[in-house]
Amino acid sequence: MPLRAKVASSVSRTAAALSRAAGRGDGSVIGGWIGLKIDPDLLAHLSAGRAIALVSGTNGKTTTTRLTTAAVGVLGRVATNSFGANMPTGHTSALAKAGSTPYAVLEVDEHYLAQVLDATEPHVVALLNLSRDQLDRAKEVAMMAQLWRAALVRHPDLRVVANADDPMVVWAATPPADPARGHVPPQVTWFSAGQRWHDDSWVCPECGSTIQRSGEQWWCTGCPLRRPQPQWTVEDDGVLDPTGAWHKVQLQLPGKVNLGNAATALAVAAEFGVRPVDAVSRLGTVTSVAGRYAQVDRDGRNIRLLLAKNPASWLEAFDMADVAPTLLSINARDPDGLDTSWLFDVDFSPLRGRQVLITGDRAYDLAVRLDVNGVPFQHVRSFDDAVRAVPPGRLEVIANYTAFQDIRAELDRVN
C-alpha cells in the first residue's frame, strides 16, 4: 500500500475509534470520510489483494451481507461493513478497521454500485431486487436498473449473482455485448428468492410492453426478456443448489424472505469456492442485524423489532410477524423520505384481527391509511405507552428507518 494510503488508513481507524469513544455513533462513516479526504483512492488501495463480494439492491442488503459474511467465513477472515454504513465512506472505514483480510463482503447502497465496482474491482456482485423507495429523492426504479446495467459491462471479469424473479434486476444483469466498445456482459448465476412486490415491474424496461406473470414465471409480451432458469432456489425450508442437492437451512431470522437471502448468500459464497454443505450451518449463527429482528424482554413483553422501509419490505414484514399485538411507527424525516404517499401502496389488511397500535411523527398519515383499509387501531404517544397497552407476551414492532432507530435507542441500542 502506498505511504499516503497507509497514513490515511491509520488516521481513518483513529477517527472511528475517537468517534465511538465520544459516543458520537459507531464511527463507521466519519473514519472513512477522513481517510478518503487524505487519499481519495483509499478504498481502491484497501481493496487491493482482497477477494471481494458486493451486495446491492433495495431490500435485504444488510441481512444478506451478514449471511454472506458468515458463509464466506468458511474460507478465512472476512471484512464487512456490518453497521449498514453502505456508501464508500462506510466501505473505507470497514476495510481500514479490519486490517488485512483475504476476503471482504460489502453492502452497497444501490445508488453507489457503479462507483464501488470501479473502486473495489470485486470478484462477485449480488443483485437482490429493485423497487420504489423514498421516491421524493431516490432515482426511479427503471433509471436505477439502467445505471446498474451501464456499470456492469465495464467489468468483464465480474461474476454476477442475480435474482431471476425481479424483471428489473434480470434486465440490469443482462446488458448487450458491444465488442466495439469493449463491453462484455458479465457471467450471471441466477437465484430465485421470490418476489411478493410486483408493482414496479409491470412494464418491460427493454421495450415498454406489458410484463405478464403466471405462477413464478414472468415474460415480456413484446420482446425476449423473460425469467431465466434459476440455479439456486428455495424449496420448503431449505435451498436447492445447482447440482440439485437440497440443504436444510435453520435460520434464527424469520420469514420466507430470509430463506431467499440465505440462498443468495450460499450462491455468492459458492463463487469463492465455498461448498453449500460447509456454509449452511454457519447461517444459523446470524441472530439480529443492526437491531433488525432483535428481541428484547421488558415488563413481561417479548418485543421483536422489524424494519420496513418501503412497500415491498412492509409486505415481507407482515409475513414475518407473528399474529400478536403489533406496534407500527412511521416517521418522515430526511433518511425516511419526506413523502408518506407510499402508505397507500401497502395493503395493511393482514393486520386485521391483531391488536394494532400506532405511533411516530407521522402516525396520523398512518391512521388515515388504516381507517381506509378497515384495520382498527389505537394511537399511542410513546413506545412506553405501547408496551403498557399490550398484554404480556410477544409485541411485534414494525417501523420505518428513523422510527426504528428511535425505538432501538429506547431499548439501549439493541443489536
Binding site: 427503471a142 419526506l338 397507500f344
Partner: protein, 240 residues
C-alpha cells in the same frame, strides 16, 4: 350514476401509479360504501379497452416515458373522451393532470395531450418537491387544499379552466395557482393519495358523480388531525 353501483375506473395502473395513487380509488370507494352505495372499482391496464360508462375516472402520476405512452393510448382508445361527453367525473394527479391538457413535455419533447382541459405544461427551472397547500376556489365549496408535490413541470391555464387553489405553500402550477377544473374534470399537482388529506375533495367528486348534493357526514377525526398537523408543520417550516 350509470348503473345501480358507483363505477370507479383507475386508468392504467401499470403505467401511472407512482406515489400510492391507488389510495384515491380506495378512499372514494370507502366513502361511498360507508354511505351505503354499492361500488365497483375497475383497474384498467394500458393493454385493455377503457370502458366509457363509468362514473369516476382516476389518472395517477408517472415518469415521462409512461406518461407519454399513457397519453398516446388514451387518445387512441377514445373511451375517456366519450365518458367525458356523457358527463363522467375525471380526477387527474400530477402526470395524469398534465396529460388532460393540450400538451406536456416528456423526455424533452412536446407531447399532445387529451385536450380535455384548457391547460398546457412545460418544464420549470427547478423540480418542485415538498408540501403543497392552497386556498381553494370558493365555488368548489371545500376547505384548504393540503398535499405533497414532486414534479418538474409548470402548467399554464387557458380561459377554459379555473385554478383549483391559490398557492400558500409550494409551487403547484407556477407558484401562484394550483390545479385546474372545469365542469366535472379536476386536476392537481397534489400527488398520490391526494384525497387522503382532502376528504372534502373526495366528497366533491362523489357529489359530482352521483348528483346527491347532501351526502351524510362521515367521521373524519383522523383526516382532520392529519390536516391540522400538516398545516402546523408547514407554518413552522415557513417561520424557520
Amino acid at each position: 350514476m350509470s348503473t345501480e353501483s358507483l363505477r370507479i375506473v383507475w386508468i392504467y395502473p401499470d403505467l401511472l401509479s407512482t406515489y400510492g395513487d391507488r389510495g384515491n380509488a380506495l378512499i372514494l370507494a370507502r366513502r361511498a360504501q360507508l354511505r351505503g352505495m354499492p361500488v365497483e372499482v375497475l383497474e384498467v391496464r394500458s393493454d385493455q379497452r377503457l370502458p366509457a360508462t363509468a362514473d369516476i375516472y382516476l389518472i395517477g402520476g408517472g415518469e415521462d416515458g409512461p406518461q407519454a405512452l399513457g397519453a398516446q393510448r388514451l387518445i387512441a382508445d377514445g373511451g375517456l373522451h366519450r365518458a367525458v361527453a356523457q358527463g363522467s367525473v375525471v380526477f387527474g394527479v400530477c402526470a395524469g393532470y398534465q396529460l388532460l391538457g393540450t400538451s406536456f413535455f416528456a423526455k424533452g419533447t412536446r407531447c399532445t395531450g387529451l385536450e380535455l382541459l384548457d391547460i398546457s405544461s412545460d418544464r420549470g427551472p427547478t423540480r418542485a418537491v415538498g408540501e403543497l397547500a392552497g386556498e381553494v376556489d370558493p365555488r368548489l365549496g371545500i376547505p384548504y387544499l393540503t398535499g405533497f408535490e414532486n414534479h418538474g413541470g409548470r402548467t399554464h391555464l387557458g380561459p377554459g379552466v379555473s385554478p383549483v387553489a391559490r398557492v400558500t405553500t409550494g409551487v403547484g402550477n407556477d407558484g401562484t395557482t394550483e390545479g385546474a377544473w372545469r365542469g366535472k374534470l379536476l386536476g392537481t399537482y397534489s400527488h398520490g393519495p391526494a384525497l387522503a388529506r382532502n376528504p372534502a375533495l373526495a366528497d366533491l367528486l362523489l357529489r359530482w358523480a352521483t348528483g346527491i348534493h347532501q351526502l351524510p357526514p362521515l367521521d373524519d377525526t383522523w383526516a382532520d388531525r392529519l390536516r391540522s398537523e400538516r398545516r402546523t408543520a408547514v407554518a413552522a417550516a415557513a417561520r424557520a
